[in-house]
């Protein structure tokens, strides 16, 4: 197991089918702990689908079928003792569009701890403060925790969604194009935040934006038509790709 332990998440021979459609083809990839791994590729290449395998969010889709293995800290997430709710608590997800609940800021942040059984008001207040501090929202929002979360700006909403994850103390943060609904300034702020969060969390980000992958990630995976074409150090992928397809994509010839 020594090999497995150097990865936080490891997929091996992973295949996924939506009905007859073969969406992920024999994916093998290892995600290193406390780093940022980017998954890039054109629309429909399966990058979001792969991301959603890591917390089994594809399970909601009835027609989806998975073969192969994904190990989280060496334990298979499909057949080990890790329950689905426990898995999703450890492997959280940030979505493309900020999706705070139509509740107050406080209730958004307390939602996760509450569904996991936390009732103590003082402890909840502490969790809310800490998770807002983690995304640098505390100073802006501490005086209006009862305001509706949907009244915040898109950037603040996305930060709030990240805080909401931090509140359940995850180990991995999956980010599915977290900046695609944000303007360039907000994008830069979220990227700074990701770098800071990577000191503590393992981050996997799916992005359409190649510059973003180049800016924030240490390793990059390039996917095409459900296959993992190339995976390696970000600088190597962008400056010295081994595969012709990768070279064509990162130089902007298609996608």
């Amino acid at each position: 197991m020594t090999d497995a332990m150097e990865y936080k998440l490891q997929a091996s021979s992973l295949n996924l089918y939506y009905g007859r459609f073969h969406a992920l083809k024999n994916i093998n990839i290892g995600i290193r702990p406390r780093s940022i791994t980017a998954i890039i590729g054109p629309s429909g290449c399966g990058k979001s689908t792969l991301l959603r395998c890591f917390n089994r969010l594809n399970d909601i889709i009835k027609s989806a079928r998975v073969t192969g293995r994904i190990l989280l800290d060496g334990a298979d997430i499909f057949n080990s003792g890790i329950g689905l709710t426990q898995l999703r608590r450890r492997v959280g997800m940030v979505f493309q569009r900020p999706n705070p609940f139509p509740l107050s800021i406080f209730d958004n942040l307390a939602y996760g701890p509450r569904v996991h059984g936390m009732r103590d008001r003082e402890e909840l207040e502490m969790i809310v403060e800490n998770s807002l501090r983690a995304t640098m929202l505390w100073d802006d929002l501490k005086d209006r925790l009862n305001a509706p979360a949907l009244s915040l700006s898109p950037e603040q909403q996305q930060r709030l969604c990240i805080s909401r994850l931090v509140a359940v103390e995850p180990e991995v943060l999956l980010m599915d194009e977290p900046c695609s609904a944000l303007d360039p300034f907000a994008t830069a702020h979220i990227e700074d935040l990701m770098r800071k969060l990577a000191e503590q969390y393992t981050i996997v980000i799916v992005t359409h934006n190649m510059q973003q992958a180049a800016r924030v990630s240490t390793e990059t995976a390039f996917m095409l038509l459900g296959e993992l074409v190339e995976f390696g150090d970000t600088t190597q992928i962008f400056q010295n790709p081994r595969q012709k397809k990768t070279e064509e994509y990162v130089s902007g010839r298609y996608g």
């Binding site: 959280g92 509740l103 949907l150």
Partner: protein, 306 residues
């Protein structure tokens, strides 16, 4: 009509010229059309409002002078020629309240099952078809069914309970369908966010889906309250028409709408009939205002984009 003389070239066929002329005569310019449409739509809306105001105004005008404190707090005497409508108010509140209390949990639970807990298939189609058929059945048929099943077979007699159970069946489809629509309108992203934080399906349904759907669901419930309050045929056959104050849910009781029917139909007292109608109208207005107020408060708290 005489056409202007045509230029020698190019020759335009006569039929074509006639068509063009007709087109010009019949089709006003888009800006004019726009103005006509706006005026028409405005007129239609005005008619709707006018009818509403006229009916409510007419009833209140004739009824309100007779709605006194004693009318609201006394029992009727001489079949309703004198006295008040207190037992009918009590009966209406009990029958309607009980009906909605029975129907709302069943209806909302059915809607949750249809939307959150099962895939679309034969079963959901059958349930939905059943609900739609139920919605189209005339209330007198519900009344007959309630009389035969609740009053006689189950031995509940002509009672508040029989009436409430019958009305519950009658409003069930409305509650199911409006709740279903409201639940479907909840963005999928909320569910994903909730699942993504490790909550179970039930937690997601309860804390996110139903919470967000609450304004829509309460609309359905308010509609049902309105339908129950104004129902006559079904309650006549199941709750009966006793004039006294009920002692228990197993007693017969006359609702306001039914009382109004008897007063008007049997020519007992026009003044009291109008007064009863005024009380009914005001009760429905009050319920709707209360529901709006509740919804606004809820929306303001949750930060819903209304």
């Amino acid at each position: 009509m005489k056409l202007a003389p045509t230029a020698p070239l190019p020759p335009v066929p006569a039929s074509e010229r006639r068509n063009a002329a007709r087109r010009i005569r019949l089709m006003p310019s888009p800006t004019v059309t726009e103005r006509i449409v706006v005026a028409l739509l405005w007129a239609m809306a005005a008619i709707t409002i006018a009818v509403l105001v006229f009916i409510i105004g007419y009833i209140l005008l004739h009824g309100l002078p007779h709605v006194t404190w004693s009318f609201l707090t006394e029992s009727p005497r001489r079949m309703g020629r004198e006295g008040g409508v207190l037992p009918m108010i009590v009966g209406t509140v009990l029958v309607t309240g009980l009906a909605v209390l029975i129907a709302a949990p069943i209806g909302v639970a059915t809607a949750v099952y249809l939307t959150e807990y099962t895939a679309e298939g034969r079963l959901t189609a059958v349930i939905r078809f059943g609900a739609d058929c139920l919605a189209g059945i005339p209330s007198i048929v519900f009344g007959l069914f309630g009389f035969v099943f609740f009053a006689i077979t189950l031995g509940l007699g002509l009672s508040i309970l029989s009436g409430a159970l019958t009305l519950a069946l009658m409003v069930l489809p409305t509650i199911i369908r409006t709740s279903e629509e409201a639940i479907r309108a909840v963005p999928y992203a909320y569910r994903e966010a909730s699942f993504g934080l490790g909550s179970t399906r039930w937690q997601t349904t309860l804390y996110v889906v139903l919470r967000s759907a609450l304004p829509g669901i309460s609309t359905g419930v308010v509609l049902s309250v309105g339908r129950s309050i104004s129902e006559t045929a079904a309650v006549m056959l199941t709750a009966g028409s006793a004039l006294g104050l009920p002692d228990s849910l197993f007693d017969s009781s006359r609702t306001l709408a039914l009382h109004f029917y008897y007063l008007a139909q049997e020519n007992i007292s026009e003044a009291n009939a109008y007064a009863t109608a005024a009380v009914l109208v005001m009760a429905i207005l009050a319920i709707n205002l209360f529901a709006y107020w509740l919804m606004r408060r809820f929306i303001a708290r949750g930060g819903h984009h209304a």
